[in-house]
Symmetry: C2
Subunit: 371 residues, 2 copies
């Protein structure tokens, strides 16, 4: 086990949606900043499909910058001089939390596809144990983009009185047919790789193809055109071969190859499955506003204009449901040509929106409790 990975062992039982019960399982997590005395400055960040607990600073495993370094850190939108930031690797993940890469103590073999299917609800429920362990009764905020946003929605629905504010970003309350299709494409690419069935090999080629497919969906058509257009890799003429002629081809190949070093193919299967199964509306018999009817949280729903994976229209469905139950909700669509990826990038208006909203919650909480 890598000593850079901090783990909390959950000794309580967790009944998963699939019917299995798990107990004594690890949750890997990180914290940034300092929890204040009142324990009123904690923000729970949920990561997306291929993210992990290493939100900011240098990720000790990959040696690259954390996935939300633009947003989280000293003086950043989520200011770690002021707030205490917690992020756990999701159940089913591959950065130390209980997932298909871990060893099944009953068989002494790696779980692989014998790991139980998990859901967004399971992921969120497991993190409640961590909050209890840290002694946090109420969070200042829960925040996350993409699959992280789904966890935000699930969290406030499960624990309506546990977060002062909630910020679901670039997400949806139920996975669309197109998004299920795109995830299935990735899974099929992995399962098509003959190495996938071989216990001593890894399906790197299949996983790379899955990543390439996903990566295309994270960017907008206009953004790709602006950044790559038809620029050639070598400045000369076309190669008349299947080598990478265009810069976009090299870029995608690089994204694919790079990904396999840091991600487990089976985790990819399990986490995409959790996303596909996410349907908060269905949990409440088709009435999404019932998911939020007891919520005490203040919401800020954020979407990006060029995000075609979780378009503004799907984010607005969340706003409509929150309005329908009288919740306190704000909505911002950020103009950006960076597509779904916008939430991970330096998009100033987005970062300002995030910063201002969290600050206003912090001030409100402090005034209530301090004066």
């Amino acid at each position: 086990m890598n000593t850079d990975i901090k783990k909390f062992i959950i000794n309580q039982s967790l009944a998963l949606d699939c019917g299995k019960i798990i107990k004594g399982f690890p949750l890997a997590y990180e914290t940034y900043g300092t929890l204040n005395e009142k324990k009123s400055n904690a923000i729970l960040v949920f990561h997306a499909l291929t993210g992990d607990q290493f939100v900011t600073n240098i990720n000790p495993i990959t040696k690259r910058e954390g996935w939300w370094a633009f947003a989280v850190g000293p003086g950043k939108a989520i200011d770690t001089n002021k707030y205490f930031v917690i992020c756990a690797n999701v159940l089913g993940g591959c950065m130390g939390s209980f997932g298909p890469k871990e060893i099944n103590p009953e068989t002494d073999k790696i779980f692989r596809t014998t790991f139980p299917i998990i859901t967004i609800k399971d992921i969120v429920s497991s993190q409640k144990f961590l909050l209890d362990h840290l002694g946090i009764k109420k969070l200042l905020a829960v925040v996350g983009g993409s699959m992280g946003g789904m966890q935000v929605l699930q969290f406030v629905s499960l624990f309506p009185n546990m977060a002062h504010s909630a910020i679901p970003i670039a997400c949806s309350a139920s996975h669309s047919a197109q998004n299920i299709a795109l995830n299935e494409l990735g899974r099929q690419a992995i399962m098509a790789d003959p190495n996938w069935k071989n216990e001593s090999l890894t399906p790197d080629k299949g996983l790379a193809v899955a990543r390439m497919a996903a990566h295309i969906t994270y960017l907008s058509k206009a953004g790709l055109q602006e950044k790559f257009g038809r620029k050639l890799q070598d400045k000369g003429s076309l190669k008349f071969s299947f080598d990478a002629d265009f810069q976009i081809e090299s870029y995608l190949r690089y994204q694919g190859e790079n990904f396999v070093d840091r991600f487990d193919a089976n985790s990819y299967l399990y986490i995409t499955r959790a996303m596909d199964y996410f349907d908060l509306e269905k949990q409440f018999n088709g009435n999404l506003s019932l998911a939020f009817k007891n919520t005490k949280s203040k919401f800020c729903v954020i979407s990006f204009s060029s995000d075609w994976l979780y378009p503004t229209s799907e984010n607005k469905e969340i706003v409509i449901a929150l309005n329908a139950c009288g919740a306190n909700v704000g909505f911002v669509e950020i103009n950006s040509d960076k597509g779904h990826d916008s939430f991970l990038l330096n998009v100033p208006k987005f970062l300002k929106t995030l910063s201002d909203f969290i600050k206003s919650t912090y001030d409100e909480v402090n005034n209530e409790k301090g004066i």
Copy 2:
């Protein structure tokens, strides 16, 4: 050789864009309807990436309906009682034309990736020999969707006086970065399959993944949501496995599996490469309108509102370039939620547009020549 495949052997030399010269190569083609005495009722149809010469009726190889059965046939928009329809399998294809599936006479082995890289220009040039062979000096119309539309544009540019009218549908004058990326994804899926390098095997799994990826792009998000949504394959509850839970998953798997029976993986590589290399603007030093400056054709450019692969904006670029050189051009955006696939489906307004435009050209041509 399958006797249902009609072939014309081109004995002239064709200098390909890649620098190689080919000679004595087959072009498989079909015709529908009867060529009139004046030879003034011929329409050349160009097929798209995975299409073939079997435009309508039952395809004798696949035993399924031709890919444009909605549009072509007796009494259809392209009425074979009235018009003489010609369609050739593209160079690089796998339905009888010279392509990577054919045997290299020099080595007596299947070409596979030793086949020369071909371009849209090569594809179109090869079909000019077929027209000469059929004794057709001027076509009533050239028409095609998607890659077929690119061929329309290339044809009128190469042969400005050979078609009374031209109908590029749901296409682009140069392949966008996103579309190159999507094609590269398909190629990587094929090349990731270890069978691809094995002469006695076929990379069915890789090709199926490529097809699944492409198929998602042919449909719109709204169309997928409307047709599939989150409908389950079996009416009961979720399976908590990686089996196909959702109908969209089964549908995609079916599309993938089905495709490998009828398509050659190397043809897929070559034809997608031809699409990626297509850049009519670059052929004219960045000024697209120069591509059309000598054109005598009347144009009808057609796009579909929900097509995100070749969106209306890219089709409009063609219209703008045609306007800039004073060409006779009409433009129609058809409202449809069926995405890029709309041109292959029963979309009444589209079929009426097609029918009316061709009929008006026919009437004009007949009046000119007949009275």
